[in-house]
Amino acid sequence: MRRKFLLFSFLITLAGYAFGGIEPATVKTLVSQYNAQALKEMGPAVLPVLVKLYEQSSDMEQRGNVATMFYQLGWKSAEAKRVLMKDIHTQDRLLRLRVQYALGRVSNDPDVVDVLLANMQTDPNPLFRDKAACALTYDQIHLTEHQKVRLYEGLIHALRDAKLQVRQIALLALKIRTGQTKGFSPGASEAVRESKIKEWEKWLQEYRSNL
């Protein structure tokens, strides 16, 4: 019995050292409390613990809470991105929104912008399309100037989408990010829209040339 107890204690301690001395149970509690400040004070060593918590949890709400913590920490993490991407197409509403918001806060990899652009244009659920646009607007915080060009390119491309809503949210994203619409009206005729898209593309060309 004593031997088992000692072995158990040793394993717990080892786990503690594996996570930089951070207790997973503590992190779990802080996540449930939405206490991002306390997690921040633990430093980046808390990220693997959060990743593990996300991955091992079958509770969608808990995963969503972890995603929210990733969002609030705003630290880049390849592992965080990996686990979040697994749920980028989940039909769980709350989790989906939180994952879409959090991805750009943990990564500036091109496939993050790509998947959000795809969600914005092709997801069957208009709410998910709308919130993907929000994520592209507000939450791509690690993008370099070159990477912003790709984002703008995707948004401008979406101005040609057949769906009115997609054209509206793409325009809104461009307006918020650049302060401009260049006169594009999502409900105008295709010919009129196309002339404005050409202005956007010319603008993008100049943006690219200034890099």
Binding site: I176, G179, E206
Partner: protein, 486 residues
């Protein structure tokens, strides 16, 4: 800038910056705001600016780095302090026509982010009547935002002054931008008809802002601003880079103060809030404000001849706010008025460390010497004892300067320097008064050899090189001062 609505301004202890009419053929009525940062008065002026300074960043006057006059303003941001310092100025709303802006800027480290903008009632947003002109540094380059595109202008050189001239055309939503670099005659940037920051035509303006970063909280920038003029007269863009003689040197301080103050003991002028132990955000510092009022009243009493009354005011001020170094000097002046020479000497000895490098201490010494009797008597009295008594020596030297006997002052300083290396600097000063820059440089170099980090000597070397037109050497010493101060 985007978070202005959440920030509470610190008003009215920004009592340093004044409404000064621009010079050189600019119609004064066309000037909306003008800051030279050089006025000697520190009472409140027109309420045309606000300083935000809640965390570790600061906005304050600086007398070390200036393009013209005596002072510039320093903006210093600190990363990780959850805020940013800001100098924000405002003027009457302009909804049509043109706005012209002229200002100088310099930074020791262009790798750190800084931002400045002209904006309207929608504050620092991308909306119409938000930002119309936005200049910033990114990765060592100065950039402007035009048509929502960040565009590089040039790589910024540390410690170099750049003068920016902007003409913004409100109706068209476009601007001309010219930037000149010190030492280079032609502008290094000359752009015409640029689309405004976020391509908004007819976007009115009523404010400008200078900050560190825009909320990322990653910048440790330090930068300096001088000669800010904004108005509706195109002549503002034709203000010279530096008017000949406009940059004030340390001997100008001496000469200007000397003409202002009488030969009887009087309060010396305050230069900025730090003289009173105050900061720009000291609006809640009741003790500090009370002490300053006591000093002001004391100065009036001293001027009226009520020396005892003045002394009690100055002593009360010093007790309430010991950090206010000017109170100690005022006490010395009052004691001189009472002819209590032992106490005067004791007081001057006590406060001398606080006044290292400040020309006002020398002036005070001269005034004390003069108060002992007429100048010739002072010279006679002080002369024999001066070479053995350090404080008498200083007083004697300053009396000679006061009397414009610069050659005698130089010879005296040279003799004193044989015993004390600290007198090399005074020999340099006397040489400067004698219009002998070569000799001044030699003496200052000796002073620097004896004390390599002496900021006052580095400043004077910088002044001498500026005076003789060697801008490269002047910049070298600017950098040396920065290194010595860190």
């Amino acid at each position: 800038m985007g978070k202005v609505a959440a920030r509470v301004p610190i008003q009215s202890l920004i009592l340093l910056l004044f409404f000064v009419h621009a010079t050189l053929a600019v119609n004064p009525s066309a000037v909306l705001v003008s800051y030279s940062f050089d006025d000697n008065q520190i009472d409140s002026g027109p309420d045309t600016f606000t300083i935000f300074q809640h965390a570790k960043g600061t906005v304050r006057l600086n007398s070390v780095y200036r393009l013209s006059g005596y002072r510039s303003v320093e903006i210093r941001d600190v990363a990780g302090d959850a805020d940013f310092p800001e100098l924000q100025g405002y003027f009457a709303l302009r909804q049509e026509g043109s706005i012209f802006a002229h200002f100088a800027m310099m930074t020791p480290d262009p790798r750190e982010d800084l931002n400045l903008a002209l904006a309207g009632p929608q504050s620092f947003t991308k909306e119409k009547e938000g930002i119309v002109f936005w200049l910033n540094t990114r990765d060592g380059f100065l950039c402007h935002m035009s048509d929502s595109i960040p565009k590089k202008l040039f790589q910024v050189t540390p410690f170099v002054w750049y003068v920016v001239d902007l003409a913004y055309y409100i109706d068209e939503g476009r601007y001309d931008l010219a930037i000149r670099q010190e030492g280079i005659e032609l502008p290094i940037v000359a752009l015409k008809n640029q689309i405004s920051a976020f391509h908004q035509r007819g976007s009115a303006v009523d404010k400008f802002s200078f900050i560190g970063d825009t909320g990322e909280d990653t910048s440790n920038v330090v930068y300096y601003l001088d000669d800010v003029v904004i108005g509706i007269d195109r002549a503002i863009n034709q203000l010279p880079f530096v008017a000949p003689g406009r940059r004030k040197l340390f001997i100008d301080y001496w000469n200007e103060y000397q003409t202002q103050i009488r030969q009887t003991p009087a309060c010396l002028p305050a230069q900025d809030l730090s003289d009173f132990g105050l900061r720009a955000d000291s609006e809640d510092d009741e003790a500090g404000l009370k002490a300053r009022e006591l000093w002001k009243s004391g100065c009036e009493l001293l001027a009226s001849g009520d020396v005892n009354g003045a002394l009690s005011h100055f002593e009360a001020a010093s007790e309430v706010k010991p950090q206010g170094k000017i109170y100690g000097l005022a006490i010395a002046m009052a004691l001189a008025g009472l002819h209590d020479w032992d106490l005067v000497q004791h007081q001057m000895n006590r406060i001398s460390a606080d006044w290292s490098g400040d020309v006002r201490y020398g002036l005070a010494s001269a005034m004390i010497g003069i108060a002992r009797g007429d100048l010739d008597h002072a010279q006679k009295v002080l002369g024999p004892s001066s070479e053995t008594d350090p404080k008498s020596a200083e007083e004697y030297y300053f009396v000679l300067l006061w009397k414009h006997e610069y050659s005698a002052a130089l010879q005296f300083a040279i003799r004193m320097s044989e015993k004390k290396p600290a007198w090399f600097e005074k020999a340099g000063d006397a040489s400067f008064f004698l219009n002998d820059p070569v000799a001044a440089l030699n003496w200052y170099q000796l002073a620097l050899d004896a004390d390599p980090d002496c900021v006052s000597v580095l400043l004077k070397l910088s002044d001498v090189y500026f005076w003789i037109g060697d801008l490269e050497k002047e910049r070298f010493y600017r950098e040396s001062i920065y290194g010595a101060l860190r």
